[in-house]
Amino acid sequence: MSLRNAAYIAGAFEHPTRLAPDKTTPQLHAECAAGALADAGLSLADVDGYFCATDAPGFGPISMVDYLGLKVRHTDSTEMGGCTYIQHVAHAAEAIAAGKCKVALITLAGRPRSENVMRFRPGAPESAFEQWVGLTNHTSYGMCAVRHMHEFGTTSEQLAWIKVAASHHAQHNEHAMLPKVVSVEDVLESPMIADPLHRLDCCVTTDGGGALIVVAPEIAKTLNRPMIALRGAGEATKGPSGGLGLDLTVSAAARSGPAAFAEAGVTPADIKYASIYDSFTITVLIQLEDLGFCAKGEGGKFVADGNLISGTGKLPFNTDGGGLCNNHPMFRGGITKVIEAVRQLRGEAHPAVQVPNCDLAVATGIGGSLGARHGAATVILERQS
């Protein structure tokens, strides 16, 4: 069974808030659900499948289905860190193809700026061996960047270009947390957080969320919305696996990406727009290589000199400003990657960053910790007439 054309993204909504002291996390989920349903022209009563992950408070779908007032016949709480919601699009298509639901709602929301959020996951088998190391995402991704620089000569200036490109896009986004255009020098002069990653190599932390509506083909045809098909999907996980063959320059996207392209029957050269998970600048660079936009080790040259800037570069990426400048709600950038890809495919991105004739896009992400253990999910999306 292939997922090609098995399902369509009919609704997409990014919550405009970046700081929500006056709302609860479930409330944000509900507002996102309402926004995506309105976008699709559907209502809560139409939803028969619900997808959430550990950002959903309480007992996953058991709490949230009841809170939202849904009546569903299918739930899925697959957890893969920040890229989960990209994976949920594919899992929703699987469920739709299997006849388990026809209208799937995916929500993400959280308030890491407004409340102390427990991020450590107790009881993991590696905990006793890694908790005392004091690993945070900064040093985890920092080690990947150091190794990439060592093996391939990648530079901090090249990494900085990724932030620069994101900032060029964010200036047009009225909701972006960091709407100011920055230069390579600005990035390099920002404080060092964890070698070699500066503050401006890191994504923002935001309250907020988003939601997606994934529907069966026969439902999509009845809605007065552009037809955005899932054309291919892939997922993978990767870790130190006992410590042999450790390679921090390659992510799980080296398997999720090719799987998605193979299912879609297209190549990176066919892609008009790319949403690339950008928790850090190095996250983008490694995924671009792993998806095949350039050879392994060539990412630094690929991203330099504005090559990711819409209108001037060869590969427009994260035209909403991405996690680096716009939004990274609940430390998770997966859903916003899909949402901006949908905007591009519909022709609804900001005119200053809209890619002409954008009919094929990729959204890819990393979840967990790139330098320790992580997951990856990739979807290829196509606008059909």
């Binding site: 088998p125 590696e126 905990s127 006793a128 061996f129 890694e130 908790q131 005392w132 190391v133 004091g134 690993l135 945070t136 900064h138 040093t139 985890s140 920092g142 080690m143 990947c144 960047a145 150091v146 190794r147 060592h150 404080p191 060092m192 957080i193 964890a194 070698d195 070699p196 990653l197 130190p240 696996s241 006992g242 410590g243 042999l244 450790l246 921090l248 330098g371 320790a372």
Partner: protein, 132 residues
């Protein structure tokens, strides 16, 4: 070395021998009797081949830096997080203790140094530049 407060590791039945050895200044990892490959962190079942025929081995406590990143901000900073490729094969995530964190580099030889955690709890295996 920063004054970073280290959480006490929590041994369990699968890893008790590792922490008992640590208390005696020895870094033990596991090797599989079937595929003959070592692994870290230690498991009852070999992650390379799935065999339950795993046994503890003492390491020489030496290796080289695979990658390293120095945390510059926040509690206990600066401190170095690294992967060390042990001479026995597996890479392990750990900290490097050194006066000159800026001088740490990939390929540098390092040796084991145990660092205390909380009273009565096992120490944790860190590394320091050889001769440093």
């Amino acid at each position: 070395m920063s004054d970073r407060k280290l959480p006490a590791p929590q041994p369990n039945v699968e890893t008790q021998e590792f922490w008992d050895a640590a208390s005696n200044g020895v870094l033990k990892i596991k090797r599989c009797g079937d595929c003959n490959q070592a692994h870290y962190y230690p498991r009852a079942i070999c992650p390379h081949c799935g065999s339950a025929n795993t046994a503890w081995i003492e390491t020489a406590g030496s290796g080289e830096i695979y990658s390293v990143s120095v945390m510059r901000r926040g509690e206990g900073a600066p401190f170095a997080v690294a992967y060390i490729t042990l001479d026995e094969g597996p890479a392990m995530m750990t900290n490097i203790v050194a006066d000159d964190l800026d001088g740490l580099a990939i390929g540098q030889r390092v040796e084991l140094v145990f660092t205390p955690t909380e009273d009565g709890a096992p120490p944790v295996p860190m590394f320091t530049p050889r001769g440093g």
